[in-house]
């Protein structure tokens, strides 16, 4: 059994590796167990590429920016599937979503309102864009009284309440808390800064349970305080991402105070703490949406599974887990699944020296052996199947592996949420660069 789980690792280079190493986003080793065969990689990339092109080019005009964005994301998806380093390229994908999001979002606000600041007039006109984190505050009041406590549009725009809730619901049904490692356009900041240093200056070892509990306390607080005050408390007082999105106009003492909190929260929780701990600290300890996704993760068909028989207890998975979902206590207790807050980023899968961790179907009872190999072996024994049928069978079996299905679904959701922002951001850069050459004419 253990022999079957051993896997080869090699220093397979891709064209992006030098740049990734510079940004601290790369690991040197690629693993065959995480590498799709070429036909499967091409098929699923074609599928994901179709949806990328649909959301990039179908919803906006065909342009150089749209073309570059399509090539970038489709290329990244191919590397996630085929390079043998899915964790590394997932990280690049996730960080790019965050970096593409904020210039476009801010530019939109400035174009529409002339400022990043949200005036009382905008609030009364229900023109506040709705983001997924607000769900933690709006769902309970809506369920109890059909009251929407957020001053946003119900329908009629991309960032309207119903459209975001629909995307969130479907994404949660499929990805669960995987949203936090593949789709969220904020989490990339944490991910980026958590790679800023090679070694952690502050170790969170032994404090994992407290950090996890704090995130659930944040969720409970935000939900209850929003119920009590009928306002989106996190947005009004606590959101660390106001600095890179929008903020209420400062009109008095409470406005100043809230703005100070926004600034401190961004630099403290999103920049400094991830850099010092090498963990996605804001996502692990503070974000109420992450906690909510963890609680409802059971509705997702995918989860990380640990083969406790193969596990040698080296702790590599706990060291690399960015959200403290695996810790020493869990390994020692020989538990087969990480804690609820696992974001399915695949870092532990890549780090495990015995290949004892992998993404699996929640209801799967089969042993942790690659199903493609098992099915091919079975097909080989059947004399009536032709070579072509066997190849097709093996390919289909590989496509329906959890890691391929999950990566494809998660990537497409990432595109649904962020592709239009990416196109606008790249478009702005192209216009700026063109302006340099033409002198602004």
């Amino acid at each position: 059994m253990n022999g079957q789980l051993e896997h080869s690792m090699e220093n397979r280079q891709t064209i992006l590796d030098p740049a990734l190493r510079l940004l601290g986003l790369a690991e040197p080793l690629a693993s065959d167990k995480d590498r799709a065969s070429l036909p499967v990689a091409l098929v699923v990339t074609a599928f994901a590429g179709y949806w990328t092109l649909f959301f990039v080019m179908g919803l906006s005009k065909v342009s150089l920016g749209a073309l570059l964005v399509s090539v970038w994301f489709i290329g990244l998806f191919y590397l996630i599937i085929r390079s043998g380093k899915p964790a590394v390229y997932r990280r690049v994908f996730f960080v790019s979503i965050a970096l593409f999001f904020f210039p476009s979002f801010i530019a939109n606000l400035v174009a529409a309102r002339g400022s990043m600041a949200l005036s009382a007039q905008d609030i009364f006109a229900n023109e506040t864009p709705y983001c997924h984190i607000v769900s933690t505050m709006t769902v309970l009041p809506w369920a109890l009284t059909r009251t929407v406590i957020f001053p946003g549009r119900l329908t009629g725009s991309y960032a309207s309440i119903y459209s975001m809730l629909a995307i969130w619901l479907v994404a949660s049904l499929t990805l669960g808390r995987g949203w936090c490692a593949w789709v969220c356009f904020y989490g990339g900041w944490d991910d980026l800064f958590s790679r800023a240093r090679k070694r952690a200056l502050i170790s969170l070892e032994g404090k994992e349970a407290s950090v996890r509990r704090f995130s659930y306390a944040m969720l409970a607080f935000v939900a209850l305080a929003s119920l009590a005050s009928l306002s989106a408390v996190y947005c009004v007082w606590l959101c660390p991402f106001k600095l890179v999105t929008e903020y209420p106009a400062i009109t008095g003492f409470t406005g100043y105070l809230a703005t100070m909190i926004f600034i401190l929260a961004f630099f403290g929780l999103v920049v400094v703490m991830p850099a010092l701990t090498r963990k996605r600290f804001q996502c692990a300890a503070y974000c109420p949406f992450g906690a909510l996704q963890g609680l409802i993760d059971g509705i997702s068909p995918f989860r990380i599974r640990i083969d406790t028989a193969a596990c040698i207890g080296c702790g590599a998975c706990a060291r690399v887990c960015p959200v403290l979902a695996i810790d020493k206590a869990l390994i020692e207790a020989k538990k087969a699944v990480p804690h609820l807050n696992c974001v399915k980023c695949g870092e532990c899968v890549a780090a495990c020296p015995r290949g004892a961790i992998r993404l699996a179907f929640r209801i799967a009872s089969a042993p942790l052996v690659a199903p493609a190999a098992a099915i091919t072996a079975k097909a080989d024994k059947a004399p009536s199947t032709s070579a072509r049928e066997r190849r097709m069978g093996a390919m289909l079996a590989e496509i329906v592996q959890p890691r391929i299905l999950f990566a494809t679904t998660a990537f497409v959701f990432g595109m649904v949420i962020s592709s239009s922002f990416a196109v606008r951001s790249v478009g702005m850069v192209i216009v700026a660069v063109a302006g340099l050459f033409t002198g602004g004419r």
Partner: protein, 215 residues
């Protein structure tokens, strides 16, 4: 009139739960898990809330139209803010007292404590300006602004109205009695609730209390 108050409570009770349950929930979750203990705490909380309602009803009913002349326009906001500050302070102290590192003041709050604090929280919630509360207060004000204004009869009318209103809204608090069933087997929930209690206390005390009072 009692039927009207009861129906008002029944028809708007979900809003009451929305604004009043957050006062009690963290305390109930953080405290022991026995059904009886929980029932006592919920009972004390609801009694505190009833006292708050009766006080408001009696005063509004007795003062009636004179309120317009003698009560400052922001008095109700100030009253609600003070209610939030009291609730916030008790939530913070109760939350800190669980850490085991409470100093003398917190220990004093804890001594005998969760039951009494549930009563204080209930009383404070009785002053929160949720939409049904405002509707009931407005109705009492209107009813007692005629011949009964400024009389004991007006006060009794207000008392009766708010008592019936309380009964109507309290139906929606019944699920709180089943909380121990929801808590059973969920690890770490009490610790989470204790942290939540401190956060909520800070929010009540500062954001809904002091800042509204001085704004």
């Amino acid at each position: 009139m009692p039927i009207e108050a009861l129906l008002l409570g029944l028809s708007t009770g979900t809003y009451c739960v929305m604004s009043c349950a957050p006062y009690a929930l963290p305390l109930l979750v953080a405290e022991g898990s026995g059904l009886r203990r929980n029932a006592v705490l919920v009972g004390v909380f609801l009694t505190g809330r009833l006292v708050g309602y009766l006080a408001v009803g009696a005063v509004l009913g007795a003062v009636g139209a004179y309120a317009l002349r003698y009560v400052p326009p922001r008095a109700e906001i100030a009253l609600a803010a003070i209610g939030y500050m009291v609730a916030g302070a008790f939530l913070i102290l109760q939350g800190i007292s669980y850490t085991g590192r409470a100093h003398r003041l917190c220990a004093a709050v804890k001594a005998g404590a969760a039951g009494r604090n549930a009563g204080v929280l209930g009383l404070a919630s009785g002053f929160s300006l949720c939409p049904p509360f405002v509707a009931a207060a407005g109705r009492v004000f209107a009813l007692s602004s005629g011949s009964t204004a400024g009389t004991v009869g007006g006060g009794l009318l207000g008392l009766l109205y708010f008592a019936c209103f309380f009964v109507g809204t309290s139906v929606f608090f019944l699920p709180l009695f089943g909380l121990p069933f929801a808590k059973r087997g969920v690890e770490g929930l009490r610790r989470v609730a204790r942290v939540t209690m401190i956060m909520l206390g800070l929010y009540f005390f500062f954001a809904l209390g002091i800042f509204r009072l001085v704004a």
